[in-house]
Amino acid sequence: MSKQLLKALPELLEERVISSDIAGNIQAYYRQKAESQPNRLFVIFGILGSLLVGLGIILILAHNWSHLPPVAQLILAFVPPIIGIIVCFYSLQFRNDSDAWKESSAIFLFLGVGACLAMLSQYYHLQEDVADFVFRWMLLVFPLMYIMSSGISAVLYLAGITFLGMSWGLSNDTSWPYWLMFLAALPFYLINQKKNPDTNFQRVLHYLFPLSAFLGTIGILGPISGHITFMVLMALYGCYVLIGRSSWVEKSKSERNGFIIQSSIGMTVILLISSFRDFWDDQYQVKDLIGTSLLDSPALILLFVFGMLFVLVYFFNQKDEVKDDDPIQIMVFPAYAVLFLLAPSAPMIVAILVNILLFALGIIKIREGVRLQHFGTLNYGLVILTALIACRFFDMEMSLILRGMAFVTIGIGFFAGNYVMYRRIKTQQELQHESA
């Protein structure tokens, strides 16, 4: 855009559309913008280079150098982190203004520490499994994101702790340490959103943070909690809906952010699962939960925390006068909570209400898609409706002819919806062209 505008400047000047002062200002603006923008390509290549070298070192050390003398093996183990520390020191002291240097050196030290730990556990034949190994590694490198202001360290750290949360959960070990490690990275995310909201890393973090929290929640709840898992996840998604719309995230230019996308998909999936009559039939622990102490049940603790967060963000959004452009999405979590409590006494009614809620969501998305002329939202609404109808086939006695006709109707609906919108956009474009 800027290049096109700059190219057009002489013509605009010649035709006296703008004055020479304005042309000068435009040129100065884009020159300054180009200078202040970090050289992204340089940063990316620096990070890629360090990442490859660091991973290469880990692989080379994994080869096992047991034929070397013991002292040489131990020295070899400490070489990567020592080089990493020296390069980090150099970056901070002499290249403090260069993101490429800071990111590259941080990533090298990050991986160097991993290589050192791997070599030591190889040398002493330590029995720790991969999760124990990654746990030690992440503990030793987490301050790097703060010290080096390194986005890539934050990304790798999140990937590491998410792996930990999942593997602890799957092996039935307690995964609470995951949440402590998650909280340790949170200030970096918050500070970075204030300082560099438009950087690529922050955009990646907008996706990674919610994804990591989701997987961490699954890690804690997966093997133990049964039905209430869905309630807790719904609460988490309820928070995502609000956070994604808050002025805090919306400040960044990314049109759609990870919070909104993940909550939309997650809520739809949970509602689809809960739309089955059987789901509410073999109910579950609400009665048992009443007698349970809060601290005994990880699900209740998480539900409490997410519920509080939901209320907190809701009031913040109200204070910031955030526009509720999608009130039904915000209401899904509170509505689901009410249904969850009602379910033991009236499972059939609750199942019907969930179906109505899903149907309403689908219709609203289609309407929104048409209003905003956004094919993604339109088709998302159609997918919700299709999935809802497909799910009903499983628990309804319906003849094959009726099922077939329903699918043909939806197929025509898909085609017609998209075609009508395509025609509408095209007509508008033509009208704009003519008036221009």
Binding site: I58, L61, A62, H63, N64, W65, S66, H67, L74, A77, F78, P81, I82, I85, C88, F89, L92, Q93, N96, V113, G114, C116, L117, A118, L120, S121, Q122, Y123, Y124, H125, L126, Q127, V130, F133, R136, L140, V141, P143, L144, Y146, I147, M148
Partner: protein, 190 residues
């Protein structure tokens, strides 16, 4: 200028922690190697892989079980201390299982693997020793597995792991075929 200084101090502190932790691992396990008592555990290996640390052979121990006189008070996944003693041929075996560590007696912190009923109110307990991974060169692990399997079938030589035990901590020092370290044995028998 203030901000970079704080960062550099933090980096130095972090470097000390990172290298110090590495140093701690080295001193801790060197101490076990130097001061610990050595035991020979009969083994049967197989070879898996670790994404970060390369190839290793998984050691299965011939004497990883213990029979109790009464019914076992332990269950699967319980952590207990196994007192290690030597049999007539000088190989290690479990002398007793205890909930706490006895002072001055070589013992290893082990996980209960399985508990069987051995009849007449007795139980047989198998344990997981905390030294079942032996890291090897990537091209050696597979050969080692095959070699040890064939030696074990021919029964021509004893295959065993040398383990140092000190204050409940252990270091797997080497895997031997007769009197020769496994890695050297593989080089001699390509």
């Amino acid at each position: 200028m203030k901000a970079p200084n704080i960062r550099i101090i933090s980096l130095i502190v972090l470097a000390i922690i990172q290298l110090g932790f590495g140093g701690y691992i080295v001193t801790q396990y060197e101490q076990v190697k130097d001061k610990g008592e050595e035991f020979k555990f009969r083994i049967q290996p197989v070879d898996p892989h670790d994404p970060f640390r390369g190839k290793y052979i998984n050691l299965r121990f011939a004497d990883d079980d213990y029979s109790t006189n009464g019914t076992s008070q332990y269950q699967r996944r319980d952590m207990v201390y196994a007192e290690i003693i030597k049999d007539k041929e000088g190989f290690a075996k479990i002398g007793s299982l205890n909930a706490s560590q006895s002072q001055g007696i070589p013992s290893v912190h082990v996980e209960i693997n399985r508990v069987f009923s051995a009849g007449k109110g007795r139980s047989r307990i198998t344990v997981k020793f905390p030294f079942s991974r032996y890291y090897m060169g990537e091209d050696e692990a597979e050969k080692a597995e095959k070699a040890v399997r064939s030696i074990a079938t021919n029964n021509s030589n004893d295959v065993y792991a040398i383990v140092s035990i000190y204050n409940g901590k252990t270091v797997l020092k080497d895997v031997m075929v007769g009197d020769i370290p496994l890695q050297e044995w593989i080089r001699q028998h390509p």
